[in-house]
Symmetry: C2
């Protein structure tokens, strides 16, 4: 019997719709001939939607989204010069709203060098690691406040909330991934200063490690981790870290691979209760929107993460291999300057060749 997958698509703003269009075509190609049936439902959400409706994410939309198998997400965010939209509201209420309401405990961000893509680092050497970022708590909890705002006595606080529940499940997920990869895990935190949360993270990692005797793990402060990332990224395999450190480190990780146009991510509901969500790490880039110059690779690779998460591992592998093969060919032939759709075409053609 054919498997049915009902995917929600949120193209979003700026270059979101352009890159998502290519990701969908690649996905359809990868599943052609397989027994899996994919249906797509598009949701109009983001800055544009807010300007039309004043809504970021209604209860009703959230309930509808919860019924899907997965969510493919483009990018959201207004033109920073558009002062009609309160700063950060779309990112918080929609993007973080989805991560929190759909309990996306594991924010997965692979980072690897690609054939022919030059990196800002002088050192040669390929690398391939994955950051497992906590996605539902920490400094992102939205706790905190202001007192005596606007006076010389003003105090503003931000509370990082860390729970045994939240830390344990993401650490366990990271160990499972490490076990399936090179059996090496690095916990990144700042436990010499953030002693309460740092103790919980370090202790939990030590405990969960007992269940994975084959995996060796070490600890690194977040400041030191930035040094290693630019001097010997090869030392990393699986990094597990909190929500904010993960945010910072994965942008750096994307930068050292040669660009944010290639970085894919998955926000995963580890318990499988709600749909997971897959999105390129890059933003909506309003400055280059509608020009067909955005790189769809990150969106395409995000859809491969989605396939993998849905258990369609063969199709996922086909997409990954097609992207690598195509980037290698472009590198060898010195091809540059392709449009968004031309890149999508090429990925689709590659997949058809290999299936």
């Amino acid at each position: 019997m054919a498997e049915q997958f009902d995917i929600a698509v949120i193209p979003g703003d700026g270059i979101g719709p352009e890159v998502i269009a290519e990701a969908r075509r690649v996905l359809d190609a990868a599943l052609a001939g397989s027994s899996a049936q994919i249906s797509w439902t598009e949701y109009s959400l983001g800055a544009g939607h807010w300007l039309e409706t004043g809504e970021t994410l209604t209860e009703e939309t959230l309930e509808k989204l919860k019924r899907h198998s997965a969510i493919l997400f483009g990018a959201v965010g207004a033109d920073p010069l558009d002062t009609r939209i309160p700063s950060g509201i779309i990112e918080r209420e929609l993007l973080l709203g989805l991560r929190f309401n759909l309990d996306h405990s594991v924010n997965l961000r692979p980072s690897q060098t690609f054939p022919g893509v030059s990196t800002p680092l002088a050192g040669e050497g390929d690398f391939d690691f994955v950051v497992v970022r906590e996605g539902t708590e920490g400094p992102y909890a939205g706790n905190g406040g202001q007192l005596r705002r606007g006076t010389p006595q003003e105090i503003a606080t931000e509370v990082s909330v860390n729970t045994a529940h939240g830390v344990r499940r993401v650490v366990r997920d990271a160990f499972v991934r490490a076990q399936a990869r090179s059996k090496k895990l690095t916990l990144v935190h700042k436990n010499n200063v953030l002693t309460y949360a740092g103790d919980l993270w370090t202790r939990t990692t030590r405990e969960v490690a007992q269940e994975f005797p084959e995996v060796t793990w070490d600890y690194m402060h977040v400041d030191a981790a930035t040094i290693h990332m630019v001097t010997d990224p090869q030392r990393f395999d699986v990094i597990v870290t909190d929500n904010l450190f993960g945010d910072i480190l994965t942008d750096l990780a994307a930068a050292i691979t040669g660009g944010i146009g290639l970085a894919a991510s998955g926000s995963i509901n580890a318990e499988g209760v709600y749909p997971s969500m897959f999105e390129p790490v890059h933003g909506s880039a309003p400055d280059i929107a509608g020009q067909q110059i955005a790189d769809p690779t990150a969106a395409v690779l995000s859809s491969a993460l989605m396939l993998d998460n849905l258990g369609l591992t063969e199709a996922a592998r086909a997409v990954g291999q097609a992207v690598h093969a195509q980037l290698t060919e472009w590198a060898q032939s010195g091809t540059t300057g392709l449009s968004t759709a031309q890149r999508g075409d090429a990925f689709v053609a590659k997949i058809k060749e290999t299936l």
Copy 2:
């Protein structure tokens, strides 16, 4: 009448004493013939001292330190394999203890490329920027706690405390520096997520900017800042940021200049009530201690920051120029493998030439 400066020296652990010895010699050379009189008082503090006495920083020592003109600090921290010392206690009670008790509101960290020092970045191009990191609050405040520790219901919190007082003085300091440099300032924060603190930082910067109409400023999220730091560090001139973001960004900044062996810092009491403290960004590196292979450059450049802070600008400039000239010579002659003392000798000789 001769000016008198009574400097406290805390050589500390590991390579601390070795690099501080050279910094002192260079300093003495830079002041030879000037009317300024420097006296040195050494304080034995750090991991070694803790092992002997069980003390990190007593009230009595703190009171003595407060009476000095400035503090020259090497590095502290035990061998990570030495399990006798509770993890992080020396860093927190001594290093952060000094920063907090001496109200070191401005943590100053210049970052620049040096002649002949190869960087991990592929791009050519020199850069020269300074990070002004808040030093007395934010996530470093030590606020937070644990509830139900060790149970599945455990909660650990960390509270970032930000005050109008603390933010305003460091932002103003950064504007003063920007005014004296290229008149460009970048505020780095994460105000789309950390909205309470982010609002205080952004609003304060906007307000203080009114006093500095010649300085243009922009805002950048901390995650994006890591990307720019490895792809176009030239875009930065003065960065102002909070305690934790500053900790992370300055390690990255040190890495991209070619190494932490060159990065100097000053923890400055902006009001001049207590002595400021000057220290290399690097740690105590117990693995290479006592071998005369540590690079004293960061300590030497930190002592130049100290001279500058004491108003001895000519001597400060002499040290900076001597270091640059000597590094250039070594680069041209391909000299490597010098001992700690040989490098110190060379800097001293260079200073004698130029004075």
